[in-house]
């Protein structure tokens, strides 16, 4: 019985071979690839490395952003102007916190040097204002030195009324133009935040 079936199959097969196109036979399913555990482990390892690196990058980016933000903040604090009353060179109480912060930053960064430029509004005498501007710059310099900043970190100049921040001629502009401006001359990058 079994051998008969085989025979029939053989005949049919012979007929098929000898005659017209044989019927399609399904291709044998490919043998499943042998499981390569080494590659899998490598890939998983790589994935975890990538993820870790991304996390590290994000953390680094965030840190860099924070650092840049801190630098920007420290720079802004170093540069923040102070202002004066008409024909006066006295530090105003509301500017003391500003100067205290500058003093702390300067002490935390001994490599930082600044130039203080004293400025005046255009109402006083042109030439007297050169002397007044110098006195305004010196007032901030003296305040910072009294807070423990090294004198060697500060130079002063006067621009008198020659470089107004606001060229308008009204009370608001005059008030803006009576100022000290603070500009780093060395070591202004990578500032350390004061402790």
């Amino acid at each position: 019985m079994k051998s008969r079936s085989l025979l029939v199959f053989a005949l049919l097969a012979a007929a098929a071979c000898g005659g017209k196109k044989p019927a399609e036979t399904p291709a044998p399913a490919p043998a499943p690839a042998p499981i390569d555990s080494t590659a899998i482990k490598a890939r998983m390892r790589q994935d975890s490395i990538n993820a870790a690196e991304a996390r590290a990058r994000a953390a680094a980016d965030a840190a860099a952003r924070a650092a840049a933000q801190l630098q920007a903040q420290l720079s802004a604090e170093v540069s923040a102007m102070i202002h004066f009353d008409f024909d006066k060179a006295d530090i105003k109480p509301e500017d003391q916190a500003n100067l205290d912060r500058k003093a702390a930053i300067l002490k935390a960064n001994p490599g930082l040097s600044i130039q203080i430029a004293g400025n005046c509004d255009n109402r006083g005498s042109d030439e007297y204002n050169l002397a007044l501007g110098n006195r305004r710059a010196a007032a901030a310099q003296r305040y910072l030195i009294n807070q423990g900043v090294s004198a060697s970190q500060i130079t002063i100049v006067s621009y008198g009324e020659e470089r107004p921040v606001n060229p308008a001629n009204d009370e608001a502009a005059w008030a803006e133009n009576r100022n000290d401006q603070f500009t780093p001359t060395a070591g202004g990058n990578n500032l350390m935040a004061p402790k």
């Binding site: 042109d126 007297y128 050169l130 110098n134 006195r135 010196a138």
Partner: protein, 427 residues
């Protein structure tokens, strides 16, 4: 004309000063000009020389020594004889007659009353297109003023001014506005050397400002010895031209006056020791022995004086402590008798003249902001900056008559300084 004269030449009785009697509330006495103080003068008509006559006519008017009668052209014959009778009916006392000769002009001063020639002289003149033409005509005018008054006029002079941070020179009649410093530089405090050969000024840089000695003939500027560092400003020559006094800032916030031998470029010496005060704006007396200057030692800037070696310092212009406004920009008059300066009255600067001997003041201005006075070499005209026309311009006042005129310039003007008389060598 009389109205123009009464414009507030105010005299202030300044002494004795008391706290409840600040000088700006002092007694004001108006000085009214009467026509008799200025003789009438007419520029006689003649053939040709129109531009010479035009310059002379204006110079003689600006001298404020005459009432210059306007004459319509062709209103009188230009023959060889002068119609004295005609000019007598016009009220003229002097007639100035200008005629061509081979090298220039011959100028005659006629005494109309007596019908005689009082003075005559040939003056060589360069061609009208030559650069020295106007100055040469100004010198003719100054000589005519001398013939009448005994003192030469001041037409052959120039002022140096700042416009938009650049130094310019301009003739005393407003002509020939010429830049001295390049547009790329910011300069301050320009001042003439007594011989008119140099202008000294502050070259304003970042954080420093040397004083430059600018040779007008060559256009070359040389840094003055001792002004290499810090900000150096308000230079002033000694009358002999050998010394230059100036203010200099220091790193402690002070400003003090120094002097240097500018001929030999040596010998820097310090004249003031401020400690807690600023000292600036020196100005030499004409004998060179005293220097007036601004000091903040009383709190506000006021006018002081010292010997030219820095000794013997004293208050020069009286003030009321706590009441008198800041006083700045002194300039000693050429005759030594007065110091002009500006003092804030109700926060606006006004021009004052201090009589050095009596310590009495005259307040010259009262409308608008008026500052930075500078003397003409005749010691009677003063130029100063005023915004009375709406923008800062140089105005020239005759302190004798109160006549005033604007030196019209295109920009906002500041810090004028008037030269001494130029010799014939100057263009």
């Amino acid at each position: 004309m009389r109205a123009a004269v009464a414009l507030g030449l105010l005299v202030l009785a300044a002494a004795p000063l008391r706290a409840q009697d600040p000088i700006d509330r002092g007694v004001r006495v108006g000085i009214t000009y009467t026509a008799g103080t200025r003789p009438r003068l007419v520029l006689l008509p003649g053939a040709g020389l129109d531009s010479v006559r035009a310059i002379l006519q204006r110079d003689l008017d600006f001298s404020d020594r005459f009432e210059v009668l306007p004459l319509e052209s062709g209103s009188a014959a230009s023959g060889s004889t002068v119609n004295y009778q005609l000019y007598r009916t016009l009220g003229a006392e002097y007639g100035v007659d200008v005629r061509s000769d081979a090298a220039g002009v011959v100028v005659r001063l006629h005494d109309i009353g007596s019908g005689t020639v009082r003075q005559q002289q040939p003056f060589p003149l360069p061609a009208q297109s030559a650069p020295g033409f106007r100055m040469a005509v100004h010198r003719v005018s100054d000589e005519v003023v001398r013939w009448v008054t005994g003192t030469p006029g001041v037409a052959a002079t120039r002022l140096v001014v700042l416009m938009n941070k650049r130094a310019y020179r301009v003739d005393s009649d407003g002509a020939d506005v010429t830049p001295i410093t390049p547009a790329s530089e910011t300069v301050l405090s320009p001042t003439w050397s007594p011989d008119g050969r140099y202008v000294a000024y502050t070259r304003f840089l970042d954080g420093a400002g040397p004083i430059m000695l600018h040779d007008l003939a060559t256009g070359r500027a040389q840094r003055v010895f001792g002004t290499e560092s810090q900000l150096n400003f308000t230079p002033a020559f000694s009358p002999d031209g050998r010394s230059l006094a100036f203010a200099r800032t220091d790193q402690q916030g002070g400003t003090d006056i120094y002097a240097v031998n500018v001929t030999d470029q040596c010998c820097l010496r310090r004249l003031t020791v401020g400690r807690f005060a600023d000292n600036l704006s020196p100005t030499y007396a004409p004998d060179g022995r005293r220097i007036a200057f601004v000091s903040t030692r009383p709190g506000t800037p006021q006018i002081y004086a010292m010997s030219s070696d820095g000794t013997d310092q004293e208050l020069l212009a009286p003030y009321d402590y706590g009441a008198t406004g800041p006083s700045n920009a002194p300039e000693w008059s050429p005759d030594g008798a007065s110091v002009a300066f500006h003092r804030d009255i109700d926060r606006a600067p006004q021009v004052f003249i201090l009589e050095v001997g009596s310590r009495r003041f005259k307040q010259l201005t009262s409308s608008g902001r008026n500052s930075d006075p500078t003397w003409a070499p005749d010691g009677r005209h003063l130029a100063f900056v005023s915004d009375r026309s709406g923008r800062a311009q140089v105005w020239i006042i005759d302190t004798e008559t109160g006549r005033i005129r604007q030196l019209s310039l295109t920009g906002e003007v500041r810090l004028p300084h008037w030269s001494r008389r130029f010799g014939a060598a100057s263009p």
